[in-house]
Amino acid sequence: MPHEKTPDPSRGAAEPLLRIRDLHVSFPTDDGTVHAVNGMDLTLGRGETVGLVGESGSGKTVTSQALMGLLKETRASVTGEILFDGTDLNALDEDRMRAWRGKKIAMIFQDPLSAMHPFHTVGAQIAEAYRVHNKVSRKAATAVAVDMLGRVGIPDPKRRAAAHPHEFSGGMRQRAMIAMALVCEPELLIADEPTTALDVTVQAQILDLLGDLQRETGTAVVLVTHDLGVVAEVCHQVVVMYGGQCVERGAMRDVFRDPRHPYAQGLLASMPSLADTAGRLTPIPGFPPSLTTLPAGCLFADRCPQTHLVPDDLCRSARPELAGSAAHPSRCHQEVHAIQREAAR
């Protein structure tokens, strides 16, 4: 099988696979411009898994769409750098992007039924994805597709390849979509809420499968999810998003053990846990900001229980930068101040 891939040692750990710098995405609408992503930064090494977490409207899906080049030739304005293996994807035109999409970067979606063509067989769709980037006969491509279906754990792959998407169960469909995404051995897989529509027992199967395939192929994964449990289960790195910004990032364990940003703290505290005995949940008061009229200060200030700790009402007048330790920074004035105080000492 041509799938086995070992990480290339000549490409040192110094150069990450993906580096997003100061990404901004906005959409013109009848109600004004929607600022969906407002200065997003992200770094991802080869073979790593990063979890993009945040609530509806935090910009995680739009970030992954920009990454995939899906916002090109739309009305969206995308600025900033998306360096993939040294190439700025944002500067590529649609024709060049098409050569990368599917080949080097692939994506799986929440709802496989709407992401697959209802009329074509599953095998034919996977074979087509392969033939777009590889000059092989239809027959050879079909053989690759059947092999791939077997690798994602679909029993009797030869027969199932001839079936249509609607004949598959939800979990099987998600497996087929993973097969389609990985058939060209991409270096980066973007998984946008891949298990949200699935039941927990099926979700567990799919997460296990993604982990196994990743170990096998060395593909890096951007996992977009709102489920902190899924993140704790599979991610090395976490980026917590709020209002289209990264408000905190770091190693998964550090972020869960010692969340720095009040939003990240609130998010973790508001989650009911299976181990938890009864007691009140701790919600975050209020609602996320409107993305058409962003506040001047910190985007979380209106819901933040800690603004009184920051002098001069800075939280409402100035937007904080990412600050704190390089490995685990957060976008909070408290972090900025702690640094200043230490520098003054």
Partner: protein, 342 residues
Amino acid sequence: MSPTTASEEQPLLQVDGLTKHFPGRGGLFGRGGKPVKAVDGVSFSVPAGGTLGIVGESGCGKSTTGRLLMRLIDPTSGSIRLDGREIGELNRAEMQEYRRQVQMVFQNPTSSLNPRQSIGSAIAAPLQAQRIDPPGGIKARVRELMDRVGLRPDHYNRFPHEFSGGQKQRVGIARALALDPRLIICDEPVSALDVSVQAQVVNLLDDIQRDTGVAYVFVAHDLSVVRHFADRVAVMYLGRIMESGPTRDVFGAPRHPYTKALLSAVPQADPDAERGRRIRLSGDLPTPADPPSGCVFRTRCPLRPQLEEGEQRRCAGEVPGGEGGPACHFPDRTSVLATELA
């Protein structure tokens, strides 16, 4: 429906052998198929002021059970009693009274509100439908309800599209509360909401129960929310209850292998939680039109490899358990299942 004197022993809601078979499709003229056994002999009870969680995966019949309780659909067989009165035997006026006492909160707060009806009039609608004239007038009552669920009085004349998902769910709850019900069926009331907002709504439901003594049947697939919210829980699979009991016991020491597998599959937002103890369920859910004989879970049961041939035959026969006990021949092996995987 006056509360009986024996109300301490008598639960508010008593359900026995509740069954709903939908006619199957297939065959000539689309009538020949086997019936889909969506709910198949389910029994449970809910005390006044208590909360029963019904959990399970898609297609297990939990939502159908909720709709049967609301009498949105008629059961094939079985009994539903509120305060000891069989609801299948109620006359029109009594049914009207039942509908006042049992209310529902739906999963999707957007589609359960009329986009062209203001929030105030949506909350007033149940009062008008039941021709109830509260002291102080309908408007005052609606304002009081809005205040109760955390909506501002100036929201009265606004429309659903001006609200976030969490606020719309508050409207849904206010509307369910309008008639002072004694039981509210909540069908996935928080699963469409973000976690931080979900916690707000769960706390609100909690407060309302403490203040009014309303009972809940809480249908959900999110086990963590149910663990937090319900005193008792029933775990459903393929239209049947696999196990039920106090939430603490069922989740703390599950006796049915399905409960155990379900709990082990929930991802924990804790980096130090024990990993690798997931019990993998092989295969897919069988079709409810043709469930396995005997124990419906036996085709996917993680205990199966340990069972001898004679024991497997027992699983294909009559299943033990009534209300409370696990519907399993070998509940003691479930705990063994855990230690072996640990």
